[in-house]
Symmetry: C2
Subunit: 337 residues, 2 copies
DNA sequence: TATGATTACGAAACCGGTTTCGTAAATAAA
DNA sequence: TTTATTTACGAAACCGGTTTCGTAATCATA
């Protein structure tokens, strides 16, 4: 079947193109009877308005871009569900773009978004992102953006984050309370806000309890899982090895388990572990994994709702520009004998 | 900054709009020196072509739609990575749409895609999908579609699947070889191709070894995890309860572990378990989980590559319309003592 | 020198909706 | 009855690229 368009409908009904358009948009200028006829024929002939024509004329794409490092991560996949639950109702579509933790990809994607392809952007920055020039450029083109989870401190954009410092503190304190005296911290990148804030909380807890932080006890991991395993094994091979580990991102959970396994160290007897994670299956790990669980779905919802407000051009209070939702510590087997 | 467009560039350079357009597209009609001038100014003024204008005129969106039930599932998130790795090179964007296992959502999405929003579609059907009318409609509008993993048998569309029957057979045989005599099967839906094929393999293995399949040993699960846990517990409460379980989709892994836990049954001593899953963390479960692992990334790549060929209008052999990539059985602790 | 071919560019149609503006006819108000 | 207003619709501009077609100028060939 040939693609139906407004012109064909107009011909069929002996009406003008503009009348059809108005009728379909339920304009007050058109009589009820005409609207009925138009709607019915449109339905019958399976007419679908061309979204690109509308976007071109209206300067609105009804697409929002979601820029994240990875989708194979339960935080991000849950956040996507939250985002979608909000924007779908408003008639927006979600364009998911993956950076694979690569800064240049992230820049390229935001550059693309300057074209008008999306009306707004939700982003969690890559682990390699340490400057916000690309975000500024986007804002200058009047594309609203809301950052979530992984943000850049110096970029004055709306943001939804968790209480990362407190969470890092809570995780570390939990380990110390359970008998750990030498706790190590695994970050993902020195550039990442969440790693750094969680690290700060870790440091605060360690200092508060008077424990020294060994030079090698703060490990910066990479995107190479094999290399991460080697790094953690090395950490655990030290003469006075750590007896507790705070892993600041979900993907490090298997790394820690694997490394402990290869070093023949038992969790939690020899090493206790807390990991930031949203994995449903954390409870079924061997042993079950104590986690800091982020409100991923709610964060996605909140970030999307903020973006919707920005798109509606409703005034947003400066106080509403930063939303902090607390994470929860879920105690499981990896931290108690 | 105001959005740059071709007209502004033309004015600036004292050239016509058409010359600019051709220069930017590297047309042979334009002299090298003019191309240089145009390119340089475009770069300098940060010109981004409006994708909707191009799409409207060219009848090509350079978007492909990916319709899947869920993104919080490692099979699908890996498949997305595979898809993206292929289509990005060809300059396509990925529009991910989630059905949440709801047939009506799936229909609505495909209806939307009749508008020309996407040039092609990759889909894995929802667990509630049992008819292919919406797919047919799309094909009639000349939108090519490739199904992957979860397909509809009767729809004559290109497809990429795994050897589901053999995998179900292998999983069941593995349990039987490890001493199980009463194996249960957990499907996701009676409508789902993968559930049914895997079930067939299960039945084949059971018959081959002369084991009866109890009336209640084939359980059809739902999207409600709590209900699934109750169903599996009920399964395990039978007087002559199963000593082996084949779980046909990843999300049932936590269900089985939870149910066994609540029934105080040990894995693998009391019940042995094989689950179809791509979870990286399966090896760290308690006990580690024997899986049928699908080549998710490769399937995504293959499906995307097929779609690219269809979009290039290259003739595709009928023999190439169905690609079957084998899954692998990964033996772990949940099936051996 | 005359003719044909090539080069380099511009005018304008086009894609398919949306919106502005103008207007005939019907209705209401004076 | 005249004037003002409302109703219901159409013509055409518009969004921003792309493409077709026409053409003046230059170059090559006979």
């Amino acid at each position: 079947m040939k693609q139906m368009n407004i012109k064909a409908l107009a011909r069929e009904l002996n009406l003008s193109v503009s009348t059809i358009s108005k009728a379909l948009r339920d304009s007050y200028e058109i009589s009820e009877s005409t609207k009925q006829r138009v709607m019915q024929l449109a339905e019958k002939l399976n007419y679908k308005p061309n979204p690109y024509a509308s976007s071109l004329r209206g300067k609105k794409s009804r697409n929002i871009g979601v820029v994240i490092p990875e989708v194979a991560d339960s935080f991000f996949s849950l956040a996507i569900n939250g985002i979608e639950s909000i924007v779908k109702e408003k008639g927006y579509h979600v364009l998911i773009c993956l950076t694979h933790e690569d800064f240049e990809s992230e820049q390229a994607i935001l550059k693309e978004f300057q074209s008008g392809r999306v009306d707004g952007v939700l982003m969690s920055v890559s682990s390699e992102t340490d400057a916000g020039g690309h975000i500024h450029e986007l804002i200058e083109q009047d594309v609203p953006i809301v950052l979530f989870d992984r943000v850049l401190k110096e970029v004055p954009a709306a943001r939804v984050i968790t209480d990362d410092m407190e969470s890092g503190y809570k995780a570390t304190k939990h380990l110390i309370d359970n008998g750990c005296r030498r706790v190590a911290f695994l970050g993902l990148s020195k550039k990442l806000s969440i790693s750094n804030d969680r690290l700060k909380g870790y440091e605060k807890a360690m200092h508060e309890y008077g424990w020294r932080i060994g030079k090698k006890d703060v490990v910066t991991c990479t995107t190479d899982q094999q290399q991460n395993i080697r790094a953690v094994k090395k950490l655990l091979q030290q003469p006075n090895r750590p007896d507790g580990i705070v892993a600041s991102v979900e993907k490090l959970a298997p790394v820690v388990y694997q490394a402990c396994n290869e070093e023949s160290l038992r969790i939690p007897q020899d090493v206790k572990v807390v990991c930031f994670s949203n994995l449903e299956i954390a409870a079924m790990l061997h042993p079950s994994l104590t986690t800091i669980t982020q409100p991923a779905y709610e964060m996605g919802q909140k970030a999307a709702a903020m973006l919707m407000r920005l798109l509606d051009k409703k005034p947003v209070q400066t106080a509403d520009m930063e939303v902090i939702i607390p994470s929860k510590l879920v105690r499981r087997g990896s931290t108690s004998i």
